[in-house]
């Protein structure tokens, strides 16, 4: 009978270990917060091109995460992307002329919204729209712009050289 008791305890520990591993996986290796947060206030912004921005991407200012993107929609009236983001309630003193731009983490990382503070004395409140936005930099556009500049520079120096 002792052996049975030992086996039962062992089995219990084993199953516990399995469940603990599962919990570890769920909490430590995903970014999901179990239980949706409904605190904080919502800001919207429109972009020409959001690039690879995804729902759940961080919204930060000066490198500090203020909130997250919660919805991305297509505005069929002016053909721009409409992004909704939820800001943590503790950051309630963001000047209402701050702008929002889409940046990339690292070189090939995920995209996020970075806000730069303006100088206004009034702050954003729930439902406000961020007017000043800057779209994501699309690699192809950058390259073509670079090539055009490069070609222009060359032709200009070619014009000036013989003088």
């Amino acid at each position: 009978m002792q052996q049975t008791r030992a086996i039962e305890i062992g089995t219990g520990l084993f199953v516990l270990f399995g469940i603990a591993s599962l919990l570890f996986m769920v909490t430590q290796i995903t970014a999901e917060r179990v239980g949706v947060q409904r605190v904080g206030y919502v800001l919207t912004a429109e972009f020409e091109n959001i690039g690879g921005l995804k729902v759940g991407a961080p919204v930060s200012m000066a490198g500090v995460t203020l909130g997250r993107v919660i919805k991305i929609e297509f505005n069929s009236k002016d053909y721009r992307a409409l992004v909704e983001m939820r800001i943590d309630p503790q950051f309630d003193k963001i000047p209402n002329d701050s702008d929002a731009a889409i940046f990339t983490q690292g070189l090939l990382g995920n995209q996020y919204i970075g806000m730069t503070a303006g100088g206004s004395e009034t702050f954003y409140k729930d439902g406000d729209r961020i007017e000043l936005t800057q779209s994501a930099l699309v690699l192809e556009n950058l390259i073509s712009k670079f090539l055009v500049n490069f070609a222009e520079g060359k032709s200009r120096s070619a014009e000036e050289a013989p003088k």
């Binding site: 049975t4 199953v15 270990f17 469940i19 591993s21 599962l22 996986m25 759940g56």
Partner: protein, 256 residues
């Protein structure tokens, strides 16, 4: 030529018959399950046999697989300058594919063969016939607890394998190679979603059912000789492995 085709047809028909029998066996086991839950002690004992006793091999292999994944990932990613995504890539590979599949294959090798040979030996030494003579249904008393034990143990083992594997990845990535611990974990966290974990665990459960079913079926239907038991054990490993990989493909395609 004709004989070859005829052989092929015969083998296919045999395989279909076997598949049908296995499925019917499965249905029979399902039908007996509600009543069997009253005798938890037998099932608990079998969860111990199939799961707890497999812990050593699962954890060891999980660790090494994780470490190799770390080394391989680092080798590949450093060529394109994206070392920090090592955590994310390795975690995704482990959670969605390597974890469930390798756990199933190891399970088939260790626990599956144990189940098949235990039951096969009971058949060869007339223990199952003796039970029938004593008016005890051997399927309910011997087969079903072992099947349920495997079904419960497999998802637990899968989760453990994946977790230990990730530990192995970070052991190589952070300790040995020197990737920044903060970006390692944050990259992983932003890449891995709950759906990925769900995919891995669903696979673990499905593989658990398949491998346990095959093991108990082969054991129960083995020839009552020493050779029969050996053959049943071999077949268990082979068929479980093929079934696991086949199901893996189907599930991956389905859940994509």
């Amino acid at each position: 030529m004709i004989t070859l085709l005829r052989e092929l047809w015969r083998s296919t028909r045999e395989a279909l018959v076997q598949l049908g029998r296995v499925f019917l066996f499965f249905l029979q086991l399902l039908a007996f399950t509600p009543a069997a839950l009253m005798r938890m002690r037998l099932i608990v004992h079998q969860i111990f046999n199939a799961g707890a006793l497999s812990l050593v091999i699962i954890m060891t292999c999980g660790l090494f697989v994780g470490m190799v994944l770390g080394l391989l990932g680092y080798d590949l990613l450093s060529r394109v300058g994206s070392e920090e995504v090592l955590g994310a890539g390795a975690a995704l590979a482990l959670t969605k594919q390597l974890g469930p599949v390798m756990t199933a294959l190891l399970f088939a090798g260790r626990a599956g063969t144990a189940l098949a040979s235990e039951i096969g030996l009971m058949r060869a030494t007339d223990q199952l016939s003796a039970m029938q003579m004593m008016a005890v249904d051997p399927v309910r008393r011997v087969v079903l607890p072992r099947f349920l034990g495997g079904v419960v143990a497999m998802p637990c083992l899968t989760a453990i394998f994946i977790s230990i594997g990730i530990f192995g990845v970070q052991l190589v990535g952070i300790q040995q190679v020197g990737i920044d611990s903060g970006s390692f974990w944050s990259q992983m966290r932003s890449a891995v979603e709950l759906d990925d974990i769900r995919e891995g665990m669903v696979k673990g459960c499905v593989f658990g059912v398949a491998c346990s079913l095959i093991a108990v079926y082969e054991g129960y239907n083995s020839l009552p000789t020493a050779e029969g038991v050996g053959r049943a054990t071999t077949r268990t490993v082979v068929i479980s492995s093929v079934a696991t990989l086949l199901l893996n493909f189907m599930l991956t395609a389905f859940m994509l």
